[in-house]
Symmetry: C2
Subunit: 347 residues, 2 copies
């Protein structure tokens, strides 16, 4: 029997530091009331992406998207199946879609705000939150090729190299013929990045010797793909070649930190001395080029040349604890919340 | 009677903090020994440029130019007259030239390393260290038009707006139709930047109220022309529009500070959140375009539409104390050391 109610997670309190039991309020709403108005669709969620950037959305500060307001369903990217369509939509029941669907089991959204998923050969639904996902592969792709403008033969350093974006940057950069240096936070992840993702060299930044080893083995790099900030950034600012580039995808070391309490960057002056280009970006800036990315990443998936690893947690109620894993570094691979079985779509 | 010896300032000790009596050693060399070998010229110096970047050259750290070594003549940009030519040069006695000529009264340099000066109408020799100087107008010009890519109608914020580069950025940006906001360190300079250079708004950053006034009067800017670093940079990182640009010309707050003792930048994360482009540059990167800049700046000078102010100190022996003025903010306008009368050239 289908459940009569579904769960939504409402932002109840802005966290200071890690997410806690008061951050989200669990709200139950009747399934019977789910209806699609003109231009709308009802989506039954299957997988929800858990991303560091959600911690930014919880902050009451200007950002690239408006802060989630207290009392609103928490924003999240997900994939699901259309189960009801209103008038004037170009989607049909059974279509899979992805977009900003929220931390909830069902979403009612404008059809124009979601993208229909085309399950190309070699892909599964979950890959649309991984190599083909907005907060995964697409971010890696545009950061690497449009912002960092990586070239064959160049050396790129990637922080959080075992993470959802980092793991794909490593692999895409290898596809592009670059020499890839990964940075991660434990030995197990370091082995994964080297042996399974194919990085040329990997460092565990928690070992004090890593900087000396970097100097011996790498020296200077052309590109730094920035996911962390803090001490690693300060180091990389002194290890980039003249005209080196930093693609600033994220600064995860600061998302849990209150304003003014962060470590800060001491080597800003190197931007001047080394004539660096440091550029922030958001994947949606490149929306018009998504089809190109889908095509190229899809071809890599189809040929079996991309490794992907999912860290899947079941149940919406585990969203908060799971999000914290991103900041303790306990997840390996793309962190996904599974809220329904794929293929079992009905209201 | 011509003097029998000339003075050179040798870097004797790398300063910690401000330049002091031990930084330079005064060396007297016989004028009679000055000779030009093949491809060389002997230049009698007239004006020497005193620039914050000289403090970088004194540090024993990797930079955009090699550090000046202990025992070498201190590097400096200057203008002077050719007084002797060796075989195989394309210069003649009496030609005025500019280039890296050093803190000395005479320089023996390869002719290919200096640029011949063409005194276009409306210009004086000293202007080739000001609006037409490598460390003055050319730096302002390429930072503004090639790096920041300022456009008509945009708002640009310029730090050290009364300084050698800043004062020209203010005026060039006005020529380009931008709204110009200057930042400087005292009320007298602020009046100069507004009333004589033509900035739309000017703040004295030493007044605590300036940030509130900025929010009321400016709000958000398109471009920040970076000359200082530190607290002003942190503020500007939060006051740039999405896709704003920072042209990093210099970071004067850090040149006198030992490694690791600087204040640091806390708002690095804004590069990500606001998708900023932060780019360092050095004027010599644009050497192939210098003729364009000479032509355009020259036309502004000829039409009388550029204000320039020189803070001239006489005598090579005052170089060290004068350089310190750049860090205390006591100079107004371009700081120049005059070591000979223009027009009085002979060995």
């Amino acid at each position: 029997m289908a459940p009569s109610s579904y769960t939504r997670l409402i932002l109840q309190e802005r966290p200071k530091g890690m997410i806690n039991a008061k951050t989200f309020r669990r709200d139950e709403a009747p399934v019977s009331e789910l209806s699609a108005g003109p231009g709308q669709v009802v989506v039954k969620m299957v997988y929800i992406s858990l991303d560091p950037t959600q911690r930014i959305w919880m902050r009451d500060e200007p950002s690239y998207l408006p802060p989630v307001q207290i009392g609103e369903v928490m924003r999240a990217i997900g994939v699901g199946a259309v189960v009801k369509v209103g008038p004037n939509t170009n989607l049909s029941p059974g279509d899979y879609v992805t977009g900003f669907l929220g931390l909830q089991e069902y979403a009612v959204v404008p059809a124009q705000q979601v993208h229909k998923i085309d399950l190309v050969p070699g892909t599964e639904l979950i890959d649309f939150l991984g190599p083909l996902g907005v907060s995964g592969g697409l971010t890696a792709y545009f950061g690497l090729f449009e912002v960092a403008k990586i070239k064959k033969g160049e050396t790129i350093v990637v922080s959080t190299a075992a993470g959802s974006v980092g793991s794909l940057v490593v692999q895409f950069a290898k596809q592009a013929g670059a020499r890839v240096v990964g940075i991660t936070g434990d030995d197990d992840k370091a082995r994964y990045v080297k042996n399974e993702l194919g990085a040329d060299i990997v460092y565990n930044y928690k070992k004090p010797s890593w900087k000396d080893q970097f100097d011996d083995q790498v020296g200077q790099a052309d590109v730094y793909f920035e996911n962390v900030g803090s001490d690693i950034t300060d180091f990389m600012l002194t290890r980039l070649k003249t005209f080196g580039r930093i693609a600033v995808c994220g600064v995860i070391s600061e998302y849990n930190v209150e304003e003014g309490q962060n470590v800060g960057i001491r080597n800003y002056i190197q931007i001047c001395l080394r004539r660096l280009r440091v550029q922030g970006f958001i994947v949606t800036d490149y929306a018009s080029k998504f089809p190109d990315a889908y095509k190229e990443i899809g071809s890599w998936l189809e040929s079996g040349s991309l490794e992907r690893e999912y860290h899947v947690v079941e149940g919406l109620e585990n969203a908060g604890d799971s999000l914290n894993l991103l900041f303790t570094g306990e997840n390996k691979g793309k962190l996904i919340l599974k809220v329904a079985e794929p293929g079992g779509e009905k209201v």
